[in-house]
């Protein structure tokens, strides 16, 4: 080869992009700031290109944590979270996180490597049909066959993840596609995010129904947070004076101290909320989906109510409960357009408010041990407006929903639909990176914490000042509670009294930690936790037999609540 020809070749090479480089460019084009991931053989070309990326990569210690962290990042920012993993076990480890994003409608872009195209379908090393495996738990998914398609597929993937009702998408990248040179990538068309416009005639019918109602009630769900419609919902409540109940995902929509706020409905909801649902004559459903944990026995839920159902996802309307007035569209636009004459409901509003006061939670439990509900309430009040909770799953999750004060539904990150233990710590990492100025606290239990305990290493590696409240009852507490109440106290495989010393474990990872064993230590402990400069864990010893009250037994109507000693 002549030197001129060689020089020409070099120039041609410089103009060509690899598939891997196109992946990085596509993420940059979407404005991605953080990617959570873990490298491996089939994604190595992308990791090679990552060293030149303009965004940050956070190396987690298990791919499930990458998906959970990206999910929480998305819930806080409203932008798609991104997670990256290799083929085979890397991809399958993402699955719980993808399912979590699907169940709670979080925009998540999961990127997986795969074996080279000629090996796909031959049971090659670390080959899994991840597209097939994840079909039921994604909004959409792609295998990239032509590297020239990378820019347009990524643009479409981010669009699908974030538009309408958000959710997870998956892009599978065979290794040869990552290596391949591309002369003329097909660039994406810009597509604006859209929301279907609601039918004005239905909005007029809803206004009439609201004005005529004698006992109207708002039932706010996670869609309020996702639609960023908290301000519109609060404004609607102010305009109409209609009392409101909210789901687990909607805590923080209506401030607790408003007279219209009746708290959470459902299995661990307040008596005031569940009573109001049973008695209302008009249920205005805002981005909620009649989940069984919220409704109890569906046939007996809101038995006297006509239903106005507002949801961006038309497929949720009529799925479980018929809607008399279905309104499919963007919630903010719908509420802004809906101006009913305020209904004459002074007596009803007063009855609801009086029930909320009469049945308010009490925090004067006897004893000297730590009372978890009081600790969580104090934690959220001391952290104030900047408080963000990333919860795990179990009793502590229900206590956090019941007793913490949230300034906004985005301040409460909780695995609702999937109920995935192990969410709390990686979700806290994602949330803290999304909102560095917030007081982000992971609220976890001894069972859940152990499921992603390895992420303490991530906290230390990046010195992420996440605060962890580990409520340790040395039990799988919610399962124990059900065994006590519904399985004749036959306690089966719930004893975790051989837990490791969590303070020592955290310290071994290089994370500051201390213990709270007695009620009198709580206030100083919260102070220390919130004041810590770096990551810090408070290991809180609580009563192994403490229960979450109230409780609607599974399969029963919300009218059949059981009560403990703090109600």
């Amino acid at each position: 080869m002549t030197s001129a020809a060689a020089s020409q070749n070099i120039q041609a090479d410089a103009e060509q992009l690899t598939g891997a480089r196109l992946v990085v460019q596509a993420l940059e084009r979407e404005g991605v700031e953080v990617v959570f991931g873990y490298p491996g053989g089939a994604i190595m070309p992308v990791y090679d290109a990552l060293t030149q990326a303009r965004f940050r990569h956070i190396l987690v210690r298990h791919e499930q944590a990458a998906a959970f962290a990206a999910d929480a990042y998305a819930r806080v920012t409203g932008k798609a979270g991104v997670c990256l993993a290799t083929s085979g076990p890397g991809a399958t480890n993402l699955i719980t996180g993808i399912a979590n994003a699907m169940m709670d409608s979080a925009p998540l872009v999961a990127i997986t490597g795969n074996v080279a195209s000629p090996l796909m379908g031959t049971d090659a090393f670390q080959e899994i049909d991840i597209l097939g495996v994840t079909l039921p738990i994604v909004k959409h998914s792609w295998i990239v066959r032509d590297p020239a398609d990378i820019p347009s597929i990524f643009a479409e993937a981010f669009h699908v993840a974030q538009s309408g009702r958000p959710g997870p998408v998956l892009i599978d990248l065979p290794k040869d596609v990552q290596f391949a040179s591309v002369r003329a990538p097909r660039m994406p068309r810009r597509v604006a995010l859209y929301a279907a416009a609601a039918d004005p005639a239905q909005i007029r019918r809803a206004e009439s129904a609201i004005s005529a109602a004698k006992k109207p009630l708002l039932y706010a769900g996670g869609g309020v947070r996702i639609a960023r419609a908290t301000g519109q919902v609060r404004d609607f409540v102010r305009r109409t004076g209609i009392p409101a109940v909210s789901t687990l995902q909607a805590q923080g929509v209506i401030p607790n101290d408003w007279p219209e706020s009746l708290g959470m409905l459902g299995m661990h909801g307040t008596r005031a909320a569940n009573q109001a649902v049973q008695e209302c004559d008009l249920l205005i459903v805002l981005g909620a989906r009649f989940d069984d944990r919220a409704t109890g026995a569906l046939a007996k839920f809101a038995p006297n109510a006509r239903v106005i159902h507002i949801d961006v996802d038309a497929a949720e309307i009529g799925k479980l409960r018929d809607a008399h007035i279905p309104i499919s569209g963007d919630m903010s636009a719908v509420l802004a357009a809906m101006n009913p004459r305020p209904p004459a409901i002074a007596d009803w509003a007063e009855t609801c408010h009086a029930a909320a006061i009469e049945h308010a939670y009490r925090y004067d439990a006897p004893g000297e041990g730590v009372y978890a509900p009081a600790l969580l309430k104090e934690l959220s009040e001391r952290a104030g407006e900047a408080f963000v909770a990333a919860c795990d799953v179990g009793q502590h999750q229900m206590w956090a929903a019941q007793h913490c004060r949230f300034s906004d539904p985005r301040a409460h990150l909780t695995s609702g639909g999937l109920g995935a233990m192990g969410y709390g710590l990686p979700a806290g990492i994602g949330a803290k990176l999304a909102q560095p100025d917030a007081h982000v606290c992971t609220i976890t239990g001894d069972g859940s914490f152990a499921m992603n305990i390895q992420e303490l290493a991530t906290l230390k590696r990046y010195n992420i000042p996440l605060k962890i409240v580990l409520l340790d009852n040395s039990m799988l507490g919610l399962v124990r509670q059900w065994q006590e109440l519904f399985f004749d106290r036959n306690f089966s495989e719930v004893d975790l009294s051989d837990n490791p010393d969590f303070v020592a474990v955290a310290q071994a990872f290089g994370v500051d930690a201390f213990r709270i064993s007695r009620r009198e230590e709580v206030s100083a402990g919260i102070e220390r936790l919130l004041a810590a400069d770096g990551p810090c864990l408070a290991h809180v010893i609580i009563d192994p037999m403490a229960n979450v009250w109230p409780l609607v037994p599974p399969g029963k109507s919300n009218a059949e609540m059981m009560f403990g000693d703090n109600i």
């Binding site: 597209l131 959409h140 066959r145 038309a314 009529g318």
Partner: protein
């Protein structure tokens, strides 16, 4: 009661599997199905039957509408009409 859907679906990998999986997962049997070439797309005709009376074929239609790269030859306005969401199975 059965219902027949006529759909145009993209030729993308997994598209047929995605459609069939959705229908069965949401509680419906597929009684008849045909797939034919339609240029850039495939035309799929499906006759489905609910496994139990609680399953609403109108909701299934709207769940199919959510799929990316699938369009249904019927009733765009269906979810917005009075009575359209009342399931009688």
């Amino acid at each position: 009661m059965t219902q027949t859907f006529t759909l145009q679906i993209d030729r993308a990998e997994g598209s047929l599997q995605r459609l069939i999986g959705l229908i069965e997962r949401r509680g419906f049997h597929i009684d008849r199905m045909s797939v034919a070439d339609a240029g850039q797309q495939r035309e799929v005709r499906l006759t489905v039957r609910a496994r139990d009376e609680a399953r609403c074929v109108d909701v299934l239609g709207r769940q199919i509408d959510r799929l990316v790269g699938v369009s249904r030859e019927r009733s765009v306005s269906e979810p917005y009409q009075e009575g359209a969401v009342v399931c009688t199975a």
